[in-house]
Assembly symmetry: C2
Homo-oligomer: 320 residues x 2
């Protein structure tokens, strides 16, 4: 396949050409510099889709839930794009086939587009391209875009929050330490799901969440009260209810005018994430160049990392 310049892929992607979409997604994931102008155009054309973040601890059954939810969205007559940040994915970028395999019987449906983005080990770039990927699917006309992340770690939480509606998935019977990690994530939920609700200890998890919501309600938002939805994958239980609740949340955002505050928050998060990415890129680029002297000062302990960072930030504009 010849390399098609990204700007030439844009009109195809806007027309819903799956192959063009797939290639742009790969370039987003790889951070291909040539594709930057294309992403800017796609960002300008995006903004119509309902973005839903779905996050939960490992073992909570998010991936199964996302597949079931995609089916329910299709059954409601809408199309759906999915970006899954998948630490257990053995494949990355470009493999339409691979993307299709995970979707099972949704694999042949052109109204669903799924992309798994592998995390890159411990070396950073976990989230790279995720939000551009959402723009691509949004601009390509998918009615809803789901972002699936593992809800541990700041990066993942930030991504889950870059959505109009955030769903947090809990599961019964996970260890205490895991549940505690989740505590910070629970605060960001617009909707709670308790998966595997056929398990015997599910009622305790549901009751715990409801109690937590009761305690928080006094300080809650007048326009929205999060609910707890039990789901059970083998019986397909709760998925239609979840979609109805997601739609209800979007309607409440619109009716209350809160959608504007939510959009502003997403823009802020995207701006800071993009700034951090540029900072890391410039650092990478100049570590052996103009950063070397600064690092030398730190290594001699003549300058603290914080003082050196203040200097770095002051000069960063000249580092382009």
């Amino acid at each position: 396949m010849a390399y098609l310049p990204s700007v030439e892929l844009v009109p195809k992607a806007l027309a819903g050409d799956e192959r063009a979409i797939a290639r742009l997604l790969t370039r987003a994931e790889n951070g291909t510099p040539e594709a930057r102008a294309a992403f800017d155009t796609l960002f300008a054309r995006a903004g119509r889709a309902h973005i839903v973040g779905i996050t939960g601890v490992p073992g909570s059954g998010k991936s199964t839930l996302v597949s079931k939810l995609a089916k329910a969205i299709r059954a409601s007559g809408r199309t759906v794009g999915i970006v899954a940040i998948d630490p257990s994915s053995p494949f990355s970028g470009g493999a339409i086939l691979g993307d299709r395999i995970r979707m099972g019987d949704l694999g042949g449906d052109p109204g669903v587009f799924m992309r798994s983005m592998a995390t890159r080990g411990a070396l950073g770039g976990l989230a790279r391209g995720t939000l551009e990927s959402v723009d691509i699917l949004d601009a390509a006309g998918y009615d809803m875009v789901l972002i699936e992340t593992v809800g541990v770690g700041q990066d993942e939480v930030d991504i889950a929050r870059a959505a109009h509606t955030t769903v947090v998935v809990s599961a019964p019977g996970l260890g205490d330490e895991i549940q505690a990690i989740k505590a910070g994530v629970l605060e960001i939920a617009d909707i709670h799901v308790v998966s595997k609700s056929d398990k015997p200890d599910a009622n305790k998890t549901i009751a715990d969440l409801k109690n937590m919501l009761m305690l928080g309600l006094a300080a809650g938002k007048p326009w929205w009260r999060p609910v707890v939805i039990p789901t059970s994958a083998p019986q397909d239980q709760g998925v239609v209810e979840l979609l109805a609740e997601i739609d209800r949340h979007r309607a409440a955002l619109d009716a209350s005018g809160e959608i504007n505050a939510r959009r502003a928050m997403i823009d802020e998060r995207r701006l800071i994430k993009a700034s951090e990415e540029i900072l890391r890129d410039r650092f990478e680029q100049h570590r052996h160049g103009r950063l070397a002297a600064l690092l030398e000062n730190v290594s001699r302990r003549e300058m603290s990392p914080h003082s050196a960072a203040t200097r770095l930030i002051a000069e960063l504009g000249e580092y382009a």
Copy 2:
């Protein structure tokens, strides 16, 4: 207690005064601006301790291992400071009592100083002050400083790597998804521990790790081959071996001269972490001020987040 200026706490901390150390640690965790000069001085005076990062997935038994390891370090005649980034910690900053409680029978020993730093929900600042805390304990004269983190998420991994020796703890019988998340973390291990080695399926975990190391050895470092150490907390098994291996790693770093490369890597990581912190602070400070126009452009989709971020980075020096 009257507020003592941080610079007045420095000489006390350098002399090993626990109360002064505790107060500086609290100021590191809170990011108290007044304490910045004190931290710079402490950084200049640090550099003697052997810093050991200990990381592992939730449920791997890190905290128990860290307590046992602290005992072994004391038994070898050395002192130890511990910074635990603890998502399950109900208490934060300042509570010497709280810190002591977790240490159990080590609580009365002046040769051990333990600080649990609570994570701050989903709102960022997870790692804030961690590396300054290491400086404080290092400068205060503790022979070894242990940093305990949950090995999921970029921030935690970065912190675990800001150490001379990185120990990764695995446990038998955790779910597949959890083990997969760990895959990225495994790459950074100088020493592997398999905790709960009394469990029946521990042998499989040990064998899996050894296989992984075998496969990686061709590209390995000539001066160091990571080993796998089984530990079992109820029987105190493996802890003395772990300490011996940590000491052996430090000796290998010194003998090979690799210690300089490792120190340079730590300095780089600290510089970039500090830069990100400053970036976030400036963002926070100017979001309703000079950043408002930029955000407005993004919200009208006239400028992409990446273009806006490029502008932000260029101007950041003037935002002080």
